[in-house]
Symmetry: C2
Subunit: 357 residues, 2 copies
């Protein structure tokens, strides 16, 4: 067994227990804005070569922790490793983003999809989790993650990124049964995948529902929210003090936060288009909240960044259950010094929002 | 003077007066999904050549009315004609969308911006409005439009479309005074521009705030909403029965609809991510609502389209003040027959939601 976390601010905040300051990490903190990441990626050859190499995935996971006093590590991987393992053939085309060689086109494609065992087919991720836990040696907790079944399915059906989601929406409206059949398979593998990450040492898990908000409220409930709820019910999170907290993040969730808070998750990620005060009201303080600095604030000066960090902290206000983060992943063209200014501002300004022991 | 509209369902619905059925039109109804549009565009040479030719702009405005029993025409133009007239040099690159030759880079660029007279510098649009009114001969009302100052400014500062809005967000956070100076100039020209369209015959006007929702709630209020309110206050809409209704549309507005309803507008456009029932609740029935079929529903079968039209009508429910529309512009790859199915379903199903005279 790995040692317990020395800095457990994140886990306490996710459980809404008292902390002396607000913990902070950044979505996509191991990423292209860091020159040391770009160097490793060049060595690896391409993005998938980096993802599938546990040693290098561990190395890039650790990089942001060496630069900034962050309160969490997040596994370096991609939400599309799951459909890749299910046989769709993930690749990345320069400037085009992710693509699948064998996208889902019809019911027969869905029927043919393998409900794989992540321990076997995604062993490289599970091995990376073990390595990162050893390397962290308890310094900060490690967050594991997956995509939501809906978000992963958009790529599987569209064959890559999309602007209109024409193919998957056709399935939603013309053949909802086929859509559910697909989501059911993805949800099964996703639950097993997150459980394998937990067994390997992940101390919290997050589900990224990047594209849930392209659906109408009713379709969101049926095709995205329900599958995330089901996965949460299947996670082996344990109980009591050692319980593994779960975080759900639907980008652009807005008023859907109220429903998301009832899924059984411990925390919700909130993007910058909803004030945290409003998010607290909508969720009736049922869950912890994670967010929500506009990632584009990092293009402005350190003074402006500090001011906007203060605004986010004030919006959440006094009390427990806030994990500071960006409202979406850090952009590749951000100056790492500006990320440092954000983290420093959280360290400096957040103790005022917490009651000393 | 042109003849009054024979079919004034749109104007009555926008004023929340009784109608025998729900009026229907489609955002971007004059557009690339129509082969007859593509033919005219080929003749014109490029998009700007089409925009600046009143005869051809009139022709493409009329095209969808010949195909479908729509209840409104909307001027064929582009929100970026305004900054083009202000000297930025608009052009369109194949596959790249709109670009400016001389984007706004600094305070000096903002100082140099001309607050032009739209009657002179955008005379081709005003002439198109006059032509379309003559050609319509009162059949249905004509809607004029502009972009919101914030949305227009994003293109002026970014130089085109953007994913992160890094340049304009830097201005928002580091130099809000410069940002306000820019928005002030754009708002002045926009108000004059809409007033010129009204004087030339536009019977309703709509302001498109496509990118307002990329701002935090506080920044949205300060940099987008306030300027739309100001413009509405400056419009020469007249009074009483002949009053020109105004429509505001912020894509992804969600919970911001409550504030938008207090701007003095007559109606709000609503995208498909908020149920109309919720939008009615948020706006306390202060304004009419326009929307909100998911545009991607048009990729599905006519049967599914009819079902989703019913869902939208039921969500608004009984009562006056609903204009049926898509929740965003119709996509270029939609089958025109599917648009016809949507319009037919509104004609067939909507009378049940209105009380006969």
């Amino acid at each position: 067994m790995s040692a317990p976390a020395h800095n457990d601010l994140l886990l306490r905040a996710l459980r809404r227990q008292p902390t002396e300051r607000t913990p902070v990490w950044m979505m996509r903190q191991a990423g292209r804005y860091l020159p040391e990441y770009m160097e490793i990626r060049r060595q690896a050859g391409d993005f998938m070569a980096l993802c599938t190499n546990p040693e290098l995935a561990c190395e890039v996971t650790m990089q942001p922790l060496r630069r900034f006093p962050l309160d969490a590590a997040i596994l370096f991987s991609d939400i599309l490793t799951v459909p890749d393992a299910m046989g769709l053939g993930l690749y990345f085309e320069a400037g085009e983003g992710p693509r699948f060689r064998r996208p889902i086109r019809c019911q027969a494609d869905i029927d043919a999809l393998a409900v794989v065992d992540p321990e076997a087919e995604l062993g490289y991720v599970i091995e990376a989790v073990r390595r990162i836990r050893r390397e962290l040696d308890g310094a900060v907790p490690l967050i594991g993650f997956s995509g939501s079944p809906w978000t992963v399915a958009t790529y599987m059906v569209e064959g890559g990124s999309s602007r209109t989601y024409g193919q998957i929406k056709r399935l939603v409206y013309d053949d909802p049964e086929a859509m559910h059949c697909l989501l059911d398979k993805v949800a099964k593998v996703t639950a097993d995948y997150l459980n394998a990450q937990i067994a390997a040492g992940a101390q919290a898990v997050m589900i990224f529902d990047t594209w849930g908000s392209v659906l109408t409220p009713a379709a969101y409930r049926e095709f995205s929210l329900d599958y995330m709820s089901r996965i949460i019910g299947q996670l082996q999170t344990g109980t009591g003090e050692a319980r593994i907290p779960t975080i759900l993040f639907t980008k652009g969730a807005g008023s859907r936060l109220a429903e998301l808070a009832l899924t059984g998750c411990d925390a919700l990620g909130v993007d910058w288009t909803t004030d945290l005060a409003e998010a607290r009201r909508l969720t009736a303080d049922r869950v912890a909240l994670q967010g929500n600095l506009d990632p584009s604030v990092l293009y402005s000066s350190p003074d402006a960044i500090r001011q906007e960090v203060a605004t986010v902290l004030e919006s959440f206000g006094a009390g427990e259950g806030h994990v500071f983060n960006l409202g979406h992943g850090i952009a590749p063209d951000v100056d790492p010094g500006h990320a440092a200014a954000m983290v420093a501002a959280v360290h400096e300004l957040s103790p005022a929002f917490h009651v000393p022991d």
